[in-house]
Amino acid sequence: MIKVENVHKSFGNTEVLKGVNINVPTGSVTVILGPSGSGKTTFLRAINFLEPADKGTMYIDDLVLNMASASKKEILEIRRNTAMVFQNYNLFMNMTALENVKEGLISVQKMARYEALIKAEYYLEKVGMINRENFYPMQLSGGQQQRIGIARALALNPKVILFDEPTSALDPELVGEVLEVMKKIAREENATMIVVTHEIGFAKDVADQVIFMEGGIVVESGSPQDVLEHPKEERTKQFLARFTNQ
């Protein structure tokens, strides 16, 4: 279970997060939607302290911490229990696909090399990239790189996997393969997923909880049916209206 309360963040004089609260049950898929500038990416990055929050409290299972004054040790602890899939994939360019997935297992989880190899190959297989395990990121397409990025996050068996607009940087024809992998993981693995995305279809198919953010706060949240089909708030309705014209 992960619960985050009262998160505030400002960049200079602009307040980007104005008191965000979310509650994510274990093993569930939470999708965060919202227009650009709503703060959803900043909020996600605040969870693993890539963007340190000015104020807020985080509860992950038994861990409690103050997000503004977390120590280096606490931050490291959080990062060892979470993993992120980035919009720009951010695969380690100097390592092959297999090495990318193995790296965290060996360096961070201190796993034995052989064990790490088996586990890495298992997850590469799961995302359908096992036949490219010895390729370097520069030789792979965006969709392929992102699937490896997902395997890298998954292999660590983190308590929470954070997805930061995983398909936004992909060419349209590659989006599908990545979404398929994400749906598969949601179904087969018991990972808790927090996904920031524009893909409403994905939210409808797979999400257990949908959160709509705008202007730095949570405007509405609930099940996909509630939020997407019967939105209560006016702002939610306006946002969704853009997509119904597709």
Binding site: L50, L76, M93, G104, S107, V108
Partner: protein, 238 residues
Amino acid sequence: MGEFLNPAFLLEIFNYLVRYVPITIGLAVGTMLLSCLLALIITILRYNKVPLLGKLADLYVLLCRALPSMILLYLVFFGIPILLMAFSGTAKSAMLLRNIPPIAFAVCGLTLHTGAYLAEIFRGALQSVNIGQTEAALSIGMTWSQAFFKVILPQASVFALPLMANQFLNLLKGTSIAFMISVMELFGAASVLAADNNAYLEVYIVAAGLYWTTSICFEKIALRLEYNLSYFKRGANK
């Protein structure tokens, strides 16, 4: 034309001067190693924005890149004795200084000069690595030093190496100024030989040839090194 550029004479000069090439190479390699160390320290100070030392590091890089290496050499050569005298009195210093060979001053001066250039190269190399690489490494729970050595450094090196190789070649040539503080390296030996025999043209042509070939050799080595280190850009297996 028989008197002009007599091949036998040139060969004699070659045999005499070639023995000084190792001194030049040694001077260059030694300086390069020390400069890398210095540049590393300077870069860490600048990158972490250490309060006072960081600013001093910035100043050092600015000044030592603006000054001719000759000036730096003279400043070191005349300055270190003065510093010693200021701290331990004239008599004691004179004793110490008599035992320091001029080559030490040369290495010092050249290191200060090259170190500043390398510091700038390191800075550029670190900047060239996409910030996303660092974020990805940290996000899976790596410590900063793990991220640095496993992800950032390999990628930064590919950027830095051609520039460092170029700097080394400059250094090979730059060792020639050490003669001004009476270090007997290749150029120094050539100057003395030329003056003694009044054969300036022949001696300096041979000296130039020796520098040229040494340069080309190191260039080839550098190219091989760059090729090997950029494996992930070409996709070949290590």
